[in-house]
Amino acid sequence: MTEPRRRRVAFAALAATLALALGLATASGSVALPPLSVLSSVAARLGAPEFSPLSEPGQAILWTVRLPRVLLAALVGGGLAVVGAALQSVFRNPMADSGLLGVGSGAALGAVLAVKLGWGQTFFALPVAAFAGAMAAVLAVYVLAHAARRASLHGLLLTGLAVAALAGAGTSVLLVATEEFRVKTVLFWLAGGLEGRSWTHVQLGGGLILAGSAALLALSRPLDVLSLGTDEAAALGLPVHLTRLGLLALSSLVAGAATSVAGSVPFVGLVAPHALRPLVGPLGRHLLPAAFLGGAVLVVLADVAARTLSAQMDLPLGALTAFVGAPYFLLALRTSEGRS
């Protein structure tokens, strides 16, 4: 199969899979909705005649609970995967993802701090605090790495590790000092989950994720040039430091938004680009959109599993993506080592 053809097939397959996954996810849950009626209800909102009406409670579940949650899952997964693909090009390392910038640990610290201060039930305080924490952590990483010297990629990575460890330590201390009845809110959030997310989450978090991902896609050619290495990129006329700063800022924005609405959802940023790179190639204009679709499929399906595997409770979403992602990674590592 020629390369452009293989790419077209891959994109068609991804789009079809995402559509199926979205359908499956809206139909299934503690209350199953007939897929045909779901389709009919969505069509009705778009102005088409209703052909298989949903029951009154069905309508309510679909429009206030199910749809925002499913859409948010798709946006979070897509955003995290795009960020993973972008950072892997910036750091020229297939193991890079948003965790390296301190996004996840900063968000966790922000969220725990908010709960500790008793804002856990205040409308929207948790995501806002998490987002602020994520941005503060990234800023700290960047400033500290530059204070050390003209920041090399290596310095940035190591600073990221140190800041993440510090934020993690802060989170632990705060958790221990938090009243027991509040710990559950934090724990659930730390493990990742989309329970009870509303259209407001979709609008704020999803809006940021979409805008940031679109901006990253628009910068895909500078991203490709940057992936050639510092010297070659500079010799090709790219303002290397400025470009890197812009890409890191956009990546933190998207990952921060995703983490603030869904908590920690690990491995999506690693697995989706890694699995799709052999199919669509490493160029940003192909890999970024493919990663968005693939990441969306992953998290939508993981969230279905989170809602339906146990009848008693929602399982943590982040644990589910890790259950799939970690073995995938070990397997990929084994095959790649077997080859070389």
Binding site: R92, A218, D231, A235, L236, G237, L238, R277, G281, L283
Partner: protein, 260 residues
Amino acid sequence: MKVMLEARDAMVRRGPRRVLHGVSLVVREGEAVALVGPNAAGKSTLVRALAGLLPVERGEVLLEGRAVGAWDRDGRARVLALVTPEEDAPPALTVEDRVALGRYPHRGPFRPMTADDRAAVAAALAVTGIAGLSRRALETLSAGERQLAALARGLAQQPRVLLLDEPGAHLDVGHQLGLFRVLDEARRGGVAVLAVVHDLQRAAAWAARMVLLHEGRVAAEGPPNEVLTSPEAARAFRVSVRAHALPGGAHPLYSFEEPS
């Protein structure tokens, strides 16, 4: 011939260490210059300073008469191409996509590929002899083939000045001859070519002029035969050099021995 690239008493630092202590040299339109010297002489540093990637602490580097740092980045990259031996492109990238990134200074972040871009890429692939590999991923190539792809990227920039740091390091003798033939073609087209070459025999056969760098200074400069048989070359490389004229050969053969 028009002077394309010039260093005037350039002093360059790398970190705390001063690597170049006032280097002056000139590369003219359509000229082939070989830069030679022992390890740690400052050759790579000089090439990067000439390309505008390293700032000069004192003195200046002029590209077409204008300070290289005063050019806007894209403009500079349309005039001057640099090919280095550090080959770090993403392993899954195809040869064609890698060479096409050489059009970045012409296209910028947003302009789509034009017929001119495509023609430049095709010509660069053809002249380097890797058109047959164009759909292959870099990770499936040998080190020598990757080096040719890097050279093709430089040619796709359609530069008027071409700087190369050890372009033939990983090439077998046949591919080396091919590489220098490509550089010669570019030179005949008016491109000013300066290459760091470790293989002194090859450098002497290819270049019209040789610059010997030793401990951050130009130790000798001139026709390759004169430079290689100079006492400065013997001192720089710590060898004794002898030239042997071959009957019917265009270039003498050199032999090198440790000084007794």
